[in-house]
Amino acid sequence: MIVATDHLSKWYGHVSGLNDVTVALPDGITGLLGPNGAGKSTFMKVVTGQLRPSAGTVRVFGEPIWGNPSQYQRLGFCPEQDAFYEHMTGLEWVAALARLHGMEEASAVAAARRALEKVDLLDVADRKIGAYSRGMRQRVKLAQAIAHDPQLLILDEPLSGMDPIMRRRTIRLIKEWGGAGKSVVVSSHILHEIEAMTANIVLIHNGRIVAEGDVHQIRALIDEHPHRVSIRAGDPRALARRLFVDDDITSLRFEDGAVIVETPRPDAFYSRLTEIAASGEAGAIEEVTSPDDNLQAVFNYLVKP
């Protein structure tokens, strides 16, 4: 395990940032998902040794991280905050930070150039950061995190502020790093972003780990709970009457011309719905959508208070 926490808690005075978090992140790419204020940034700050655990332990590469700066030789961190030495050029800034990894000037500049090239900023490397767009600023933060070729990258909301094209490129870049044998822990509050990078996710909410593991395993967790389906039919009332015949639905309501049902047994329900559609009893079934088919709904469901 590349990162492991054991009963980790972090309090800011009386406010809890993390609450009894025990998690082990494997090699490869791990997505940390949670709404704003869930504790993602606190988790990342503790894991990168910027904050000291209030209780419990954190181990990175099997060693403690707080007060252990030698760990940063193998770790790159891209913080969430939009903070820079604005007057420096992208190249100067990334090279200056690379030098703090013990590189000589020439090596640091070469490493900075490589990193800037990876994030498509080489053509503006000599422009001051203060003149960068929001997306460029995000990318130059990524560049400083990868310039020293770390084994583990920790990225806090790295896609925030990027346009769709850069977002896609950055996702590809992160996947390439993972494919090259590096480990990445990446946070986001948008599920489809994480979904595009990895199937291994950790869901965090109110400072607690709600679920962790493979996306499919997490989806299985909700099978015990009602599954919501929206159906547009030619005759919604006839459809409702037909659906109420069996006990595989727990609730039904009308909303904007659609019938919304909740079912604890989605497989059986879909099978029956297919039969109803084929019989034509409720008129034409025009549309069947299920928010729960989308991973976003899984996320929403699991973190629902």
């Binding site: 800011y12 910027q50 700066p69 905050q81 903070a83 820079f84 703090l100 990894h101």
Partner: protein, 247 residues
């Protein structure tokens, strides 16, 4: 394993030196160092026919006394503490406030190296501005024929000012590392506590920096001990303290 200190200190020093040139406080420093020079030029022009004596309220003030007054009243009482305060407190506190400290804290270097490198950059920066200012004031205010006699005094004053910049800078560096709002506390210390304590009988004046910089009670040893202790404590403090950056 404890990471090395010297090489990272040098790299932080280089980085911080470049940063200081762009800091908002640089304008303040230039003004603080330039004002006495302007004042000296005005005073010199006020002297009649190149006379080295100025009549103030019927009393005769010679060039040596004028220069001494400039050093004690302007530099040691105001410019040196003010520069120490505004720069010393900002060395770490600005990085925390701007949230750029993250980039330094996530490098394989001892946090103490960040403090030491920045302090040395501060020292070089202020010395290279303030000492030429003092030398210019000397050249403007002291007639050429008196310069040879007063040169030793100038060298002594330059040394004292250097020690003052180092001492105030070190103490306020520690304050900047330790407290969230160090500037206010520093202002109270300089313009409140030091002014009051120096006038009080007893040993309370020993709890000031100004006391050790006064001509009558100057103590190089005390100042050096104070500088080393303050920088050391600042380095220890930053190693142990966590900085919660506000979102």
């Amino acid at each position: 394993m404890r990471p090395p200190l010297l090489a990272p200190t040098r790299r932080i020093f280089e980085l911080a030196l470049g940063e200081m040139l762009w800091a908002r406080r640089t304008v303040f420093m230039a003004a603080a160092a330039g004002a006495p020079v302007l004042l000296a030029i005005v005073t010199r022009l006020a002297l009649e026919n190149g006379s080295s004596v100025l009549i103030i309220n019927g009393g005769r003030v010679d060039s040596e006394a004028m220069f001494g007054t400039a050093i004690s009243a302007l530099y040691l009482r105001f410019i040196v503490p003010a520069l120490g305060l505004f720069y010393g407190t900002s060395l770490i506190a600005d990085e925390v406030e701007d949230k750029t400290i993250t980039y330094l804290f996530t490098r394989p270097i001892a946090r103490g190296a960040i403090v030491l490198g920045k302090y040395l950059a501060y020292l070089l920066c202020v010395i290279s501005v303030v000492l030429p200012s003092v030398a210019l004031v000397f050249m403007v205010m002291v007639p050429f024929r008196d310069m040879g006699v007063l040169f030793r005094a100038l060298v002594g004053d330059l040394g004292l000012i250097t020690l003052g910049l180092a001492a105030y800078g070190a103490v306020f560096l520690w304050a900047g590392v330790s407290f969230k709002r160090p500037l206010v506390a520093g202002l109270v210390f300089i313009f409140g506590w030091e002014q009051i304590a120096l006038t009080l009988p007893g040993s309370l004046r020993h709890l000031t920096i100004a006391y050790y910089l006064q001509a009558a009670t100057v103590s190089v040893t005390s100042l050096i001990v104070m500088i080393i202790a303050a920088v050391f404590v600042a380095m220890r403090t930053i190693e142990r303290r966590e900085y919660v950056l506000e979102q």
